[in-house]
């Protein structure tokens, strides 16, 4: 139990380390306005389409292989 609590505490403290502001510009505005999710949605769509396309090629190929 002690170990688990210690683990969670170190996990949380490791998260807060990143919260510090060291003057480096990050895309915080994009994140706070929520529009980063638009990018995530678009990229997710593109990659899903790419993977489904690969699956469909695979299926068609399997059909031809069976005929041979």
């Amino acid at each position: 139990m002690k170990k688990i609590v210690l683990f969670i505490i170190t996990l949380i403290s490791s998260i807060t380390v990143f919260a510090q502001d060291n003057g480096v510009d990050m895309a915080d505005k994009l994140r706070s306005s929520g529009k980063i999710y638009v990018v995530v949605a678009v990229m997710l769509l593109l990659f899903t389409a790419f993977i489904l396309y690969l699956f469909s090629i695979d299926r068609r190929l399997k059909k031809i292989e069976k005929e041979n």
């Binding site: 490791s14 998260i15 990143f18 510090q20 502001d21 060291n22 480096v24 510009d25 990050m26 895309a27 980063i36 990018v39 995530v40 990229m43 997710l44 990659f47 899903t48 993977i51 690969l54 699956f55 090629i57 695979d58 190929l61 031809i64 292989e65 041979n68």
Partner: protein, 220 residues
């Protein structure tokens, strides 16, 4: 479906890295800023390329041992797929370098080595297309491939480390792991590498099966 488990796993990993790679916290570093997220997309291309070239060399050795044409076909398509990932890796690196190092091609030894390695594998495809006799072509290109592989490894991992390089982990620069590949980034980076290796093997597998069918057709 059970045969496709690795394809599904690779797909899930890649889709996961799209979401987690854009949304999870990353270290705030000067110069890199948000572009550090490119690590999840640019570096896995090279990992995939190296794994697929390893598949190529293993199958070239198997071809020379058994004279089974199948292994030759796997080797060719592995090199073809590796070239695709090499080109994507080069171009994605050029875009990243343009914004962080100031120029798309800052004469970095690792960039030049990667370009030479890619040219070397392009030469493999040229060598193949210049030979008409099938068995001769398979044998000579298999031997070329076996020689190309260690040269590629030396070009990518040994020579850039001997001089100054902008890439992390080269020329006295600490690797990403030393200061900023923290546990948060590992959570995305490792699945990204595994996922893209899976996708590369998958593309190679599809190309090999097409080539096998073409081969059967040509023999009739």
């Amino acid at each position: 479906m059970s045969k496709n488990w690795w394809k599904i796993t690779a797909s899930v990993f890649v889709l996961y890295t799209v979401v987690a790679g854009l949304l999870l916290k990353v270290p705030t570093l000067p110069i890199l800023h948000e572009s550090i997220r490119n690590l999840y997309f640019h570096v896995p291309m090279w990992f995939a390329m190296i794994v697929i070239y390893t598949v190529a060399v293993v199958n070239s050795i198997r071809y020379l041992k058994t004279n089974n044409e199948k292994y030759d076909l796997i080797a060719v398509e592995s090199v073809n797929t590796g070239l695709l990932f090499g080109f994507v890796g080069l171009v994605s690196g050029m875009i990243w370098a343009n914004f962080t190092w100031g120029s798309p091609w800052p004469n970095d030894p690792k960039l030049n080595s990667a370009a030479i390695a890619t040219l070397m594998y392009l030469a493999y495809t040229v060598l193949r297309s210049s030979l008409d006799e099938e068995q001769k072509r398979a044998k000579i290109s298999a031997i070329y491939n076996i020689f190309a592989f260690p040269v590629m490894v030396v070009l990518l991992f040994v020579l850039p480390r001997l001089t100054d390089s902008l890439h992390p982990g080269n020329g006295g620069n600490p690797g990403f792991g030393a200061y900023d590949l923290d546990s948060n980034m590992r959570l995305v980076f490792y699945p990204a590498v595994l996922g893209w290796i899976g996708i590369a093997v998958w593309i190679m597998n599809i190309r090999f099966r097409i080539r096998k069918l073409e081969n059967i057709k040509n023999q009739i």
